[in-house]
């Protein structure tokens, strides 16, 4: 008896108000019983006209708006934008500022990945507790940001040709202490969560992405590396002072949700290594380039694309300058948006409960997806 009951598909609209959609994201899912047979993402609930505003304000005026793109990592966003503008105008960055940028970008990677783990485990049903542990660590990093830049989340820290304020010795000591203590949290977390039977059952062989699909869809960041593709802009481009540091690129094997989860944990360990080296290497010196007039910045006419390895993937800023004080065209290549494009391919054939876990493992932020 292999007769199969055929019925109508059930269409479910998940979101925009849904506890696990990481913001205002909506999916129109067609279900055959519990199994997803079609998934259509609906964007635009947080479209805040980032690019249009960027084309109307000055070059410096866009800097605080980049904080609000991916609001977990304002430091990395600042760096990406500053890098693009510096490339456009051919601006040199002093040594200490380069080290500060590396330190702050890696700190923001730490807190991003830590909170991602908390959210992902919340999506799996470990409601609350892992998130509390993750946010305990995140608050420590946010304290550092606050005492340096004056704001917990929206740091607005980088400037063209340097950084806004210098970090004093006391700050460095505090940062060192937090970074050296961070592996304790990781050990605790791994012991608590990553060998848990339920986590393994919910994540292994769920939402597999092959390396071919990941490359052809333009996936970047931890999601690409979870599929086993060795591509990290910190190594490929060697922007900033990254070539001076010794670190490894963790790679996944299966491209499933478990690999993506583990990728974040391993990357945090590598970030800690980079931070330890940076604390040793940083020397006193100027943090701004005196030749750059940051206010009223006018780069020469031309175009450029500056990109960094953000915690979520390749974050790129494309600028066309016509020689005036405002960019002629300003575009953001948002990693979460492009990583989200293969959501349907990942979810087909899985249950609707797995959709939330797969979505959580992509690590999206709607501020960046919709811009």
């Amino acid at each position: 008896m292999s007769a199969r009951l055929e019925g109508e598909l059930l269409e479910v609209s998940m979101g925009p108000q849904h506890p696990s959609t990481h913001g205002v994201f909506r999916m129109n899912v067609a279900l055959d019983g519990e199994i997803v047979v079609k998934l259509k993402p609906v964007f635009g609930y947080l479209h805040r006209n980032h690019e249009q505003i960027g084309e109307r304000t000055s070059y410096l005026g866009t800097m605080p708006y980049t904080d609000r793109l991916d609001y977990f990592n304002s430091m990395s966003n600042n760096w990406g934008y500053a890098l693009a503008v510096e490339k456009l105008a051919g601006v040199e960055v002093p040594e200490r500022a380069q080290y500060l940028r590396v330190i702050l970008a890696e700190l923001s990677r730490l807190q991003n990945h830590a909170s991602l783990l908390g959210f992902l485990l919340s999506d799996m049903g470990a409601w609350g507790t892992p998130l509390m542990y993750a946010f305990r660590e995140r608050e420590k990093v946010l304290d550092l940001f606050e005492s340096l830049a004056g704001s917990r989340m929206m740091c607005d820290y980088m400037r063209f040709g340097g950084c806004r304020v210098d970090a004093d010795a006391a700050w460095m000591e505090r940062a060192k202490k937090i970074v050296y203590d961070f592996p304790r949290f990781l050990d605790e977390f791994e012991e608590l969560i990553l060998e848990n039977e339920i986590v393994i059952a919910r994540t292994q062989h769920v939402g597999r992405v092959s390396a071919e699909l990941a490359i052809s869809a333009g996936i970047t960041g931890p999601m690409l590396r979870a599929s086993g593709v060795n591509y990290d802009l910190r190594k490929v481009d060697g922007y900033g002072f990254y070539p001076r540091f010794k670190f490894r690129i963790p790679l996944g094997e299966h491209g499933d949700t478990y690999d993506r989860l583990m990728m974040r944990v391993l990357e945090m360990r590598e970030s800690i290594d980079i931070l330890k080296q940076a604390f040793e290497a940083i020397t006193p010196g100027p943090i701004t380039n005196p030749k750059v007039k940051v206010r009223g910045f006018r780069p020469p006419a031309g175009e450029c694309y500056g990109r960094i390895e953000g915690p979520k993937g390749e974050l790129g800023f494309y600028l066309i300058s016509d020689g005036t004080g405002t960019p002629y065209r300003y575009h953001v290549r948002a990693p979460s948006f492009i990583n989200l494009t293969i959501l349907e391919d990942m979810c087909l054939g899985h249950t609707v409960a797995d959709v939330m876990v797969i979505l959580g493992s992509i690590d999206i932020v709607m501020g960046e997806v919709d811009r």
């Binding site: 925009p16 108000q17 849904h18 506890p19 913001g23 205002v24 635009g44 609930y45 947080l46 479209h47 805040r48 006209n49 249009q52 505003i53 109307r56 605080p64 708006y65 609000r68 609001y71 977990f72 998130l131 509390m132 542990y133 946010f135 305990r136 995140r138 608050e139 946010l142 917990r152 989340m153 929206m154 709607m366 501020g367």
Partner: protein, 207 residues
């Protein structure tokens, strides 16, 4: 505070081990210490809202940690983030689905007025054009302490609401129209689409 109970008599009785209170005081005390917010985040401020509920700031100290994903179970809507024109009907719909008495906190510059994105073509210039707001918190994003402060202000407001008499709370008078009509989610969009009493676009004379 306690309507109808004499303060002198009350303290005298308390010395004897008798605690006297009014129904209103007891009712408001219970309500203000068990506010269930709607688990609903829009943008950056939502992360600070989560931080408020998480380990360090711990909203549970004020009885507000029970974030409900369903509007049917929520007392408080924290509008945390930029409301776009695409999202505004959903926000109003969620508000309409909440049972009375319901309260709204507009968290952050975007929810109050559009904030840094005010010049954008797709951004609503303040959620108070559609739903009545009880507490506004400025900031971009407001610190968790600011949200706690707003929460305490809301508790104070709830504590002062009267259950009887002429000045009784709005939600106890179902016949009385509200401050301004809260739109409903119509066939295509919000009905009415705007509240002229709340916002009238400035008349521009162009030369």
């Amino acid at each position: 505070m306690s309507e109808g109970v004499d303060e002198g008599l009350r303290s005298e009785l308390q010395k004897q081990g008798v605690w006297v209170t009014s129904m209103q005081e007891l009712y408001n005390w219970g309500r203000k210490n068990s506010i269930w917010p709607l688990q609903f985040g829009l943008a950056c401020c939502a992360i600070e809202m989560i931080a408020t509920a998480a380990s360090r700031y711990d909203l549970a100290r004020f009885g507000g940690e029970v974030f409900r994903p369903s509007p049917r179970q929520a007392d408080l809507m924290i509008v945390a983030g930029t409301v776009t024109k695409k999202m505004a009907p959903q926000v109003v719909r969620l508000y309409n689905q909440m049972p009375d008495p319901k309260y709204v906190i507009a968290m952050g510059a975007c929810a109050i007025s559009g904030g840094p994105f005010k010049q954008g073509y797709n951004v609503l210039k303040g959620i108070d054009r559609y739903i009545p707001v009880d507490v506004y918190i400025p900031g971009c994003p407001p610190r968790p302490e600011a949200l706690l402060h707003a929460f305490m202000e809301l508790q104070r407001k709830i504590d002062e609401q009267k259950l009887t008499g002429a000045g009784k709370a709005e939600f106890l008078k179902p016949q009385q129209p509200s401050e301004f009509p809260v739109p409903a989610f119509g066939a295509h969009d919000l009905q009415p689409p705007s509240n002229p009493d709340v916002f009238r676009p400035p008349h521009l004379e162009r030369a």
